[in-house]
Amino acid sequence: MISGHSTWNRKHLLGMEGLSRDEISTLLETAASIREINRREIKKVPTLRGRTVINLFYENSTRTRTSFELAGKRMSADVINVSVATSSVAKGETLYDTMANLEAMNPDVVVVRHPQSGANEFLAQHLDTAIVNAGDGRHEHPTQALLDILTIDDNLPRLGRDNFEGMEVAICGDSLHSRVARSNAIALKTLGAKVRFVGPPTLMPTRAEEAFGVKVYHDMDEGLDGVQVVMMLRLQRERMSGGFFPSIREYFEFWGLSRSRLAKAAPEAIVMHPGPMNRGVEIASDVADDPDRAVILEQVANGLAVRMAILYRLCAGRRKD
């Protein structure tokens, strides 16, 4: 378990950038202790009774929205979902106005998913409500990084490790468009892991080595060589205007995770994926479904606990004047 002093004074969770090891540790400890609630027969505690959480989703995401909704409800918060298709945004209202209107109803936390990088930062600067970034453009997705780290942390014994120091993690695929890659790279570096970005040059962030302190590989076999964690990214076809690679079959041939390719990694290596998966595109089904290697469903379960922990910390850490 990542250890550190218990620290959390932040009003928002906007990204992993700038979070200290102690802050990460605090959130993970909170999540680990909350996790037990989700295994009870009656999965509900009164912790956030009377609190209001609004999920403001400008992008479709069944899994993240459900996870946040359930996180709030299991702690007895009132949870409202606002999604773009059914809101006044479709009528031309600005992000600022939508958020200001929601804020006028005095929620405790607003969880925002938005296709534009920096949208959460923009809201946090202009408005007063606590904001949780549930993914902004290609910038950050901090709760995903936290659940990924909790999952790796859970698996430290089978990896034969005590901590993240010096652990080799390969983040593979479309890191250019990936907020998951950014948040994970930043957080893993904070914890002392060594991070690799593996993928075609056209899907690599500019000067990634310098920007994120990672090593860049364009050859999947080299990139996976000896790593203990293989983190696959979803190929975000909806974020691409086209032309980043010639075809899906060529992509899978060179950058897809097949069983034979996984053999390049350390024998005990775990395979992660933030979902939803494109089977046969970035990951072969037999790898994705391999209970000895894939920890993908553990990630989902941890996601719920992490989001409960965030909501708890932001509500408990903040007094309304």
Partner: protein, 431 residues
């Protein structure tokens, strides 16, 4: 205003700097009927208005060869009258206004409309820049000759690039018949596609789509070859990339009629300013890296960049108070032009004379307009400023309509005390 009507004005005891004449000395400036009559030791004639310039610098009214005044079509962003106020407050007495209005200034009727509005405001000499192509679409040449007759002083599709090499070639060829300057917004639209800030470490960390410097450089490289092919006069607007500065320098060395301008925000800030996603740091071309910024400073120091222009681009609040990538491009700059340019002197990049040349006679010469000089017989467009007075840029106190400065809260040095347009005081500090 009574004092505005004084036919004789004496600006007394200032440090008069006139780059057009390489003149720099303490002197008096006598203005009669809107024209400079005498520079030297002058006893005040009876009944003359005296402006005490003791401790102040007296220079030709600044010439900004690149502004957007938004009229016609975008009056909610700014009007010609409002832009003129900002110019007067910044010590700018002549501006060249870009044609990306609605309708675009690709027709003599639009040119005439702009001139009429500027005359009515009476605060600045406005020189319209005509479109290179009809509707700024980059396909068919606009009526350059007729536009020039109507008052256009140069041609540009600014805001857009002339992407088609064949069209650009014809534009440079055709413009030779009129001796016209072709000003290019150099940006390969395929390379910058979707980008909203400089491509680099910061864009990677912020997760914002980047615009590589090559987007500017490949167009400048291409256009220089076309300038060589055609013998046209070519000018790069708001140069931002180190490679483009080097290409312009090489072209000038070769003797081609190639020039460029730099904007104060590009030689003052870098793309690090975007951290925080404040849309007031969003402009086109974007703020670049420290390497590019240094290249611009060196280009100014070596004389390869001969003009400083603001690319004054007013926007209403709504188009900036949005997510970064969705925000409009552009920042206002007229009122920070002089103090930021004076930083070049303080940092030892250029002397005061050379800096003022970039702000006065050099752009006037590029555009072929009167102005930018204090020579006897010249129109009395004059700026009187305190080069050292410090002030903090407060968006609420800017003139004109727009508030989108990227220098909000920044302490700058150099304050305009008086702006005179043909001898009339059009701006007085504190009023």
């Amino acid at each position: 205003m009574e004092e505005n009507e004084a036919p004789v004005t004496l600006i007394k005891g200032g440090r008069v700097v006139d780059p057009a004449a390489s003149f720099d000395a303490t002197a008096d400036l006598l203005i009669v009927d809107g024209v400079i009559r005498e520079v030297g030791r002058v006893d005040p004639p009876a009944g003359c208005r005296v402006i005490d310039a003791d401790g102040l610098t007296v220079a030709p009214g600044l010439v900004d060869m690149h502004v957007h005044f938004r009229e016609p079509g975008f009056e909610y962003k700014e009007t010609i009258a409002g832009g003129s106020q900002a110019a007067a407050a910044g010590g700018v007495t002549s501006v060249a206004a870009m044609p990306n209005t609605a309708p675009a200034n690709d027709d003599p009727s639009v040119t005439g409309y702009m001139l009429q509005k500027a005359r009515a405001a009476g605060l600045v000499n406005l020189y319209p820049i005509g479109a290179i192509t009809k509707g700024l679409k980059g396909k068919e040449l606009a009526e350059m000759g007729l536009q020039q007759q109507a008052g256009c002083v140069a041609f540009s599709d600014d805001g857009y690039v002339v992407m088609d090499s064949g069209v650009m070639r014809r534009a440079m060829e055709y413009s030779r018949a009129f001796g016209a300057l072709i000003i290019q917004h150099a940006e390969d639209s395929g390379l910058s596609c979707g980008g909203c800030m400089n491509e680099g470490v910061h864009s990677s960390r912020l997760g914002l789509p980047g615009i590589p410097v090559e987007s500017e450089e490949v167009i400048v490289d291409r256009d220089i070859r076309l300038a060589e092919l055609t013998g046209g006069r070519y000018h790069v607007a708001h140069i931002s990339a180190a490679g483009a500065v080097a290409a312009v320098a090489a072209a000038r060395k070769k003797g081609l009629q190639v020039s460029c301008e730099a904007a104060p925000h590009h030689f003052t800030l870098t793309d690090e300013a975007v951290v925080g996603y404040d849309a007031n740091y969003k402009m086109s071309p974007p703020l670049r890296s420290g390497i590019d910024r240094n290249a611009i400073l060196e280009g100014l120091a070596r004389g390869d960049i001969t003009a400083i222009a603001t690319d004054h681009a007013p926007h209403e609040r709504d188009s900036k108070q949005v997510e970064f990538c969705r925000a409009a491009n552009g920042v206002v700059g007229l009122e920070t032009l002089l103090p930021l340019s004076l930083d070049l002197v303080r940092e030892g990049v250029l002397g005061l004379m050379e800096t003022l040349a970039c702000l006065t006679c050099n752009p006037a010469q590029l555009l072929g307009i009167d102005g930018g000089t204090l020579g006897v017989g010249a129109r009395a467009d004059v700026v009187v400023f305190d080069p050292d007075e410090a002030w903090v840029v407060d968006p609420r106190r800017l003139h004109g309509t727009a508030r989108n400065t990227c220098f909000a809260g920044i302490k700058v040095r150099g304050r305009v005390k008086k702006s005179l347009l043909a001898g009339r005081i059009v701006h007085s500090d504190g009023r």
